[in-house]
């Protein structure tokens, strides 16, 4: 392993690494054992606390919650990608009339906390006398925030397409919109696909905010299942199950993004973009 920080180890260093390795392995095992003991000590392994998961109704509830999470994420993802493409085109426009408002829009919605956006969409209509469920406010909040973030990713991708591409297209007599639609966007999307998928993972994770406005999604059912007295308040088992579902889904998507990146970077028809832009989008990954 060549690394910036460490040279290839000699015999002494190898021994040292081995000793540190054994010590830290012991430390990690001790830590895990302590966690396991806490679980055991507080009775988290008792069958009673896990019994609920055998019930059909509970499994159905979890599935319903998961489907609500997925449908909120899916709906918001479609709208956010569309909004992002629109905003990116606006920001790259030659006309100040389009450029100024879209720039303001993107900067504003990136700066507002997502939860506050969701509150706006949820409490705003109530204040004005309309009754809304929690689903659409969540989708609207997610769309506005992620649309703004995605537009930055698209923009970075479009800027990164080699100048010669658009110059050649103009030389062939294409119009501005043609250059954008048939030359720049396809190449930008291809280069930025990993970054876009990463952002969609963030979006999926953020659907959990629906819990705060009482949307019956996965986390909501997790709390319900955990809050049952007859089963000894099995919060630990229920949240662990929910965590496994989230980590599995997001992990799979993240892995897909990674795979895409590998594939697109290594492909024979590599898009000629500066590596800088791809980095830029990586850095832009939100938390």
């Amino acid at each position: 392993m060549t690394n910036v920080l460490y040279d290839l180890p000699g015999p002494k260093a190898r021994l040292r690494y081995r000793i540190i390795g054994i010590l830290s392995a012991v430390g990690i095992v001790a830590l895990l054992a302590y966690v396991g003991w806490r679980f055991y000590d507080t009775g988290q392994f008792e069958p009673l606390r896990w019994e609920q998961f055998q019930y059909k109704q509970i499994q159905q509830d979890l599935l319903d919650g998961y489907l609500t999470t997925l449908s909120a994420a899916g709906t918001a993802a479609v709208f956010a990608v569309l909004l992002g493409a629109l905003l990116a085109t606006g920001r790259l426009s030659d006309h100040l009339v389009f450029r100024a408002p879209t720039t303001g829009f993107v900067e504003l919605f990136r700066a507002i906390p997502l939860l506050i956006l969701i509150f706006f969409a949820y409490y705003g209509p109530i204040q004005l006398g309309y009754k809304v469920g929690p689903f659409w406010p969540l989708v609207i909040g997610l769309t506005l925030y992620n649309g703004a973030v995605l537009s930055e990713i698209f923009r970075a991708g479009i800027i990164a397409v080699a100048r010669g591409q658009s110059e050649a297209a103009y030389a062939l007599g294409m119009r501005k919109s043609q250059v954008m639609i048939s030359i720049l966007l396809p190449q930008a999307v291809r280069a930025m696909l990993p970054a876009i998928v990463s952002q969609l993972v963030v979006l999926l994770k953020d659907t959990a905010l629906g819990f705060i406005i009482q949307l019956p999604e996965l986390l909501y059912y997790g709390k319900q299942i955990g809050g049952r007295l007859p089963f000894g308040f099995p919060y630990v088992p229920s949240y662990l199950v929910v965590a496994v579902i989230y980590i599995g889904t997001c992990g799979l998507l993240s892995w897909f993004a990674f795979w895409l990146q590998r594939r697109l970077m290594g492909g024979p028809k590599q898009v000629k973009t500066t590596a800088k832009a791809v980095k830029l989008a990586d850095v832009g990954q939100s938390v």
Partner: protein, 218 residues
Amino acid sequence: MDDFVHVLTDNWDIIGPHFWETIKLFLIAAVGSVVLGTLLAAMRVSPVPALRGFGSSYVLLLRNTPLTLVFALQVFALPKLGVTFDFTTGACVALTAYTSAFVCEALRSGINTVPVGQAEAARALGMTFTQVLTNVVLPQAFRTVVPPLVSVLNAMLKNTTVAAGFSVAEAGAITFYLSERGENQIYGLLWITIGFLILVVPLVTLQRMLERRWKVAR
């Protein structure tokens, strides 16, 4: 317009302390996540497989868990294991645990951008490990690390609002208090937005400035 201003002035006793709580959460969690994130990054770049494995599992798990779930685990599940925090401390713990995974990634990718040749050249000159680290690698890594680090912290500032869902009296929770007092919700939310813009803008400006100043030509 008059109503709008009154929502702020009449409820300053709520809005002021809540924003102060947000700032406190941010500062404590920022320090905590930078410290923990640095430790994790050190593990992930270390030549010891056990530490590398631990660091990367931590990052993998926490990065794929929604922050709301981290909060729920801390508020509902941890007490069942006999670990209890008060609301504010708990929020700091949840934010730190979550954000440190992202800090670790920012640091690690920063260190990886330093070309191997730099360290090799330094070693060829006979520098020791500490000299290589402090004179050659870290000064270069620092420049690439700081802008993304600031953006991670910026996101964390916005993430403090999630604590509102878990009984922490910070800026996001102003909404609930104002609705109890029957104030106009939209005005209240607009004031919260303005407050956050005031907090976020300096951070974003700092990030832009550093990015421009420290753009490394490679």
